[in-house]
Symmetry: C2
């Protein structure tokens, strides 16, 4: 088996293709071409084919791709052929929003534990979950075999929380705190920075008005 390194941009797009295919499938579309996918998600057709080529041949020449099949393949590639239990730390507004976010469930993610160290939050319910104290985390991780943790705490707590997660067996961290986490090499970390994209917008707006002078 040749193990070509897959660019992260390709994985990102694959995730987007995958969701787009789900939408097509729901709308009853059975066949789709690279050009239509490209059009639908805003990339070039060649890009779509190149991205898929990292993982195999999924289409039929002269015809296109079977929507259901390609949807399944992409989900399989992304590891979404089974459910993923998640834990989340930080039962603030963001944590609450993430717990109730439909987009996670529909892709096979399920938050099985919510934690906080704030006594006023512990014991409250979010959906059918009760906010637990941090000490309960090890048990929850073991019970559900959780590998992925979400950090949705204030900045000051983020590093400590992430370290504690890893100490208890978490292998990958999705971090919403806008600061870099210092974790062991083998831990996968990705940051979701809510204001970076906003600052790209302001940069571009400024750039445009500069050009119009």
């Amino acid at each position: 088996m040749k193990t070509l390194r897959v660019p992260e941009a390709t994985v990102t797009r694959l995730s987007i293709y995958s969701r787009y295919l789900e939408r097509l499938d729901r709308n009853g579309v059975t066949t789709v071409s690279s050009g239509e996918i490209a059009e639908g998600v805003g990339v070039s057709p060649a890009q779509v084919r190149k991205d898929l080529a990292y993982f195999g041949e999924f289409g039929t020449r002269g015809v296109g791709y079977n929507v259901k099949d390609l949807m399944r393949y992409t989900k399989k590639i992304l590891g979404l052929d089974h459910n993923w239990p998640l834990i989340l730390v930080g039962a603030g507004n963001l944590g609450y929003a993430l717990c109730t976010y439909k987009g996670f469930n529909s892709r096979g993610f399920k938050i099985v534990g919510v934690f906080d160290n704030d006594l006023t939050k512990i014991g409250k319910r979010i959906n059918e979950l009760e906010v637990l104290p941090m000490e309960k985390m090890p048990d929850v991780i073991k019970e559900h075999g959780v590998k992925i943790g979400i950090v949705a705490t204030p900045n000051r707590a983020a590093q400590e929380v992430a370290t504690y997660m890893v100490k208890n067996g978490i292998q990958a961290v999705l971090n919403f705190a806008p600061l870099p986490l210092n974790l062991p090499e083998h831990i996968e970390v990705r940051n979701v920075d809510l204001s970076v994209k906003l600052e790209i917008l302001t940069f571009n707006l400024g750039f445009k008005s500069a050009q119009n002078v």
Copy 2:
């Protein structure tokens, strides 16, 4: 004036450097080297210097960068030398979380209008803002000179909402709905997709365990 095209990756990193510099400044650090910034945010020192070189010379050879100055320069470049009024549509849990998110305020963003078409939400208060019906949007945009809109609605409403924003003068859209928006060429759109990063994690976890077989 030479107008070199700036890679979006550079702008993204600039935003991250900028926030890191704010943190250093709060901690009383006055001088910093490209190597220290690199270390702090997880890139290479050459990358930091190259990124800054797109915009000018900000350091002193043999010494480094003045933290306060570089912080101001980076904010200026990103267009953050003044405040930005924002509007937000979708007063659900995510919308609520974004309205109360400190990270926006601290970078000069201020949500000045929240809208929804759900009668049970209209009239409710989020901080000092009242959730308004969509029809009030044009007035709010004009009154505050709003250029940027945030879409935090369910998927089915996202396109319509974005189109309505643009019709009323919005020039840039931050979209939290995980589907591509179809808007005029001249409108800046960036998507924040909460589950893409999660799927990168699951991809990588799967890839790792495949290697261990």
